[in-house]
């Protein structure tokens, strides 16, 4: 009877485990068209070595809540900071969710009661109260050209 009451964070980033999504971040070889946005995401405060940060970029509240990212990236962790640049985004409102896949198994590990045991974060360092961060707290505006955003994940 508790099953239905629980809103596990497991759902938070399940879509990010799809390889197709992970590969959808285009190579940064071509200069972005003037009308597209380029987003450099930096993760700071990485406290556990190894693995990778799995981050998803979402373009609407529905996509954010439903774990349907427009782009996803896997950023190998080699120190307390990890950075990646995402290109080809249309200017507009986005939000980012990420987790640190410490053991490299491609999913956000949880304990048996559904509580994440790997670090996770969202854009704007949107707070979480044992439920996924809210779109309203995490939303950021991307303009044409270069954008930078820093997220603390520990």
């Amino acid at each position: 009877m508790s099953e239905s009451k629980q809103r596990p964070l497991v759902l938070l980033l399940s879509a990010l485990t799809l390889p197709a999504v992970l590969l959808s971040s285009g190579p940064a070889n071509a200069a972005p068209a003037p009308e597209t946005a380029r987003l450099t995401i930096s993760f700071t405060g990485v406290s556990k070595p190894g693995g990778a940060i799995m981050a998803g970029v979402f373009d609407s509240r529905e996509a954010f809540d439903g774990d349907r990212p427009v782009q996803g990236v896997r950023i190998p962790v080699n120190g307390p900071m990890a950075t990646e640049t995402i290109t080809g985004l249309k200017p507009g409102r986005y939000a980012i969710k990420a987790y640190h896949d410490v053991n490299g198994d491609g999913r956000m590990n949880t304990n048996p009661f559904g509580i994440p045991i790997e670090p996770y974060a969202a854009s704007n360092n949107a707070p979480s109260r044992m439920a996924p961060p809210a779109w309203a707290d995490a939303a950021i505006d991307l303009v044409a050209g270069d954008n930078a955003h820093t997220i603390r994940i520990d």
Partner: protein, 484 residues
């Protein structure tokens, strides 16, 4: 019950502002509020003064106790007794002398609240301040209910999150205890059950599921398994026989996710009380008994008769009033309702599936038993007896003999706020409850905490000795004694 529920947003109504009416009430009432006052800083080791009697030869060791001790901060305060920062106290008795030291558990919660200069982190009965980020239950963990020995460590226990490891000598916090990486952050109740060989059984609750923990006496995890429960009850304690775990599922059940925790529970007496009995050797083997509704925090150790009947005692309350209003009243300086008087009741679970609950009429809380008899037949239960007059909680200690239906007790009078007492055996004795009872009280006239030692066979004679501290610490909840 889903312990995570109280971590969810409290909603727009959340406020931590002090209610002026509460402040007025505190001023208008008696000085028992000393037992719920704030401790501003850690308490350096200090000698206690022997004020009466002679310390018994052979009694040597440390009584560790835990309880909430910081409730109020300039920018906002806790609104429930159970939401204060855990202060671990060590009363050490050695060579006829006694000393006291106390140190707050260094929790993320305490750090957050200290930095905010306000109690912004809610919990059992206190809402969160708006905007507080909480990633896990351990961000709310106030480590304030009890302690457990685990090898060379002392653990400070809460019930909805992880234990905190403490250095028993310096009382310094070593950090959160994760028993296995994949079980990080799983809840761990403050009332583990100990087998006489030191094996530890414990639970952690989440809605109608529980994790069953089994640890060695050194604190190493031996097994962990999740089981389903027939009711999403609030579970603070459980009990055990040599072969079975006994989980009383009261009709205070989680009905929604909300913060604080107690706001998500509803008293539904129509559900009755269920008692789940699990086979320690195979947790899938279970029996469920049904009883009339009652509320319970604490239970005595259980045992089995040769015919398989499971017996134990517990302290029953009429409803969940203390968990909701009573604990809030105490912090606000209001005496909790007179109706909230716990009664010792004897429960038997017969092989034919019938549960009987026998009322003793004895007003009692904090049942403790002889640890050497845990899980085996026993007759005696140590308890704290209810306060009278202006005393809002407890003022006496006693040992009830359930077989002979006799009670041996001592009344400190209404000017002592009496805490849970603990039994420790005499080194050369092996009869049940042959040893000493160690109890702490806050003496309101002396405005000081006192440590009392009783001969457990003669409680009504009064303490064989009493030491007094040079300060009063707020009353604590639970503890353990380690001889040595």
């Amino acid at each position: 019950m889903n312990r995570r529920s109280f971590l969810t947003a409290a909603g727009a109504t959340a406020t931590l502002a002090l209610n002026p009416d509460s402040l007025f009430a505190a001023a208008a009432h008696g000085d028992w509020t000393l037992g719920f006052a704030d401790v501003e800083a850690d308490v350096a080791p200090r000698d206690l003064t022997l004020i009466q009697g002679r310390p018994p030869g052979g009694l040597s060791g440390s009584l560790f106790r835990n309880g909430p001790a910081r409730f109020r901060r300039p920018g906002g305060s806790a609104t429930h007794w159970f939401d204060g920062d855990g202060l671990v106290r060590r009363f050490r008795i050695r060579d006829g002398r006694a000393s006291l030291a106390a140190r707050f558990v260094d929790t993320p919660r305490r750090r957050t609240d200290t930095a905010a200069n306000a109690v912004v982190t809610g919990g059992f009965g206190t809402p969160h301040a708006p905007g507080v980020a909480i990633a896990s239950a351990d961000d709310v963990n106030c480590a304030n209910i009890s302690v457990q020995f685990a090898g060379d460590e002392l653990w400070a226990l809460w019930e909805s999150g992880s234990p905190f490891a403490i250095d028993p000598e310096t009382l310094e916090t070593r950090g959160l205890k994760t028993l296995r990486p994949d079980l990080a952050g799983m809840p761990y109740l403050a009332h583990p059950r100990y087998e006489p060989d030191g094996t530890v059984w414990n639970l952690g609750l989440a809605g109608s599921r529980a994790i069953v923990w089994r640890l060695s006496s050194s604190g190493a995890l031996e097994a962990a398994e999740v089981v389903d429960l027939p009711l999403a009850s609030y579970v603070h304690d459980f009990t055990a026989t040599e072969r079975h775990l006994v989980i009383v599922l009261q009709p205070w059940v989680q009905v929604r996710q909300s913060a604080p925790l107690n706001s998500g529970f509803a008293w539904k007496p129509e559900l009755g009380t269920r008692i789940l009995v699990l086979d320690k050797a195979d947790l899938s083997r279970r029996r469920v008994f049904e009883a009339d509704p009652f509320f319970v925090f604490h239970m005595g150790d259980a045992w089995e008769e040769p015919d398989g009947t499971v017996r134990f005692d517990l302290c029953a309350l009429p409803d969940a009033g203390f968990a909701v209003q009573g604990g809030a009243d105490l912090l606000a300086g209001r005496r909790p309702s007179e109706a909230l008087r716990p009664e010792l009741r004897r429960v038997s679970l017969a092989p034919d599936g019938v549960c009987r609950v026998e009322r003793t009429g004895l007003v009692a809380e904090f049942p403790r038993t002889d640890p050497r008899f845990a899980g085996r037949p026993r007759t005696r239960t140590l308890f704290a007896g209810m306060g009278r007059g202006d005393n809002p909680l407890f003022q006496s200690l006693g040992i009830h003999d359930g077989k002979r239906d006799r009670t041996d007790s001592f009344d400190f009078g209404a000017r002592h706020l009496v805490e849970e007492a603990i039994f420790t055996p005499r080194p050369d004795g092996d009869a049940e409850m042959d040893g000493w009872v160690l109890g702490v009280s806050v003496n309101l006239d002396a405005r000081a905490s006192e440590l009392h030692v009783f001969d457990a066979r003669r409680i009504s004679d009064g303490p064989v000795c009493t030491w007094r501290a040079d300060l009063a610490l707020p009353i604590s909840l639970h503890g353990q004694f380690r001889p040595g």
